[in-house]
Symmetry: C2
């Protein structure tokens, strides 16, 4: 039986998901090529992780051909939303403003990025009908 709920990806799993989101559906070999540029890791390590992820329901795979093709089950956005939400709860006592404040301090965004943030908030206000 497939997995019903949504375990949170671990750090290594997230790294693999990033590759799948960037490249689209990919083989283990393709993911391995990308990851092994960043860190020293064996092919079978990546394979095993992706098999585990399939077991957890984090990815699906197409086994039609001998070389299986893996695909992230949840979108990047949705996963990000979940991770941020959990961090807000675990480290900011539920305060989104608290996290945003630290994000600013932590990153010193550039003018461009600041404008982007500003427009995100404007957009959000309109959607929510706040003003």
């Amino acid at each position: 039986m497939p997995q019903a709920n949504h375990p949170r990806p671990t750090e290594s799993e997230l790294q693999i998901l990033e590759v799948l989101w960037a490249r689209g559906p990919s083989t283990v070999r393709e993911v391995f090529e990308v990851i092994s540029e960043a860190r020293d890791v064996g092919y079978t390590t990546v394979l095993k992780l992706m098999q585990i992820m399939a077991g957890k329901g984090l990815v699906t795979r197409d086994e039609a051909r001998r070389t299986h093709v893996y695909k992230a089950r949840l979108s990047r956005k949705r996963t990000q939303k979940r991770l941020v939400g959990e961090l807000i709860d675990k480290a900011f006592g539920g305060s989104a403003a608290g996290l945003i404040g630290q994000a600013l301090m932590s990153r010193k965004p550039s003018d461009d990025e600041l404008r982007e943030i500003h427009s995100l908030i404007e957009q959000y206000r309109k959607e929510q009908g706040h003003d």
Copy 2:
């Protein structure tokens, strides 16, 4: 020798740090009382975690009296900043704006909170001399 660098707190460790930040320097018993309200856990489990945290340098302890008093070594702000920074790197490709966008979507902040966020950003712009 004490620990030189800064291991990231695990989830359980963060929960303990939250208590120390909220209460100030505390005994194991005091931390245990708070945590055991939220979840079912044994006294020696909390004790052991706090001993491990002392070993890692996440907390210091005063052993002058038989009942040791533990203190968070890093401030809540600094720890939050680190956790947010890591999440931005691991899940948002380094984009603070990306994280802030998801924080908004994830939490649907209230009018009050939105105003708070707005003023955080204004304050940041002034400090950084952006405008």
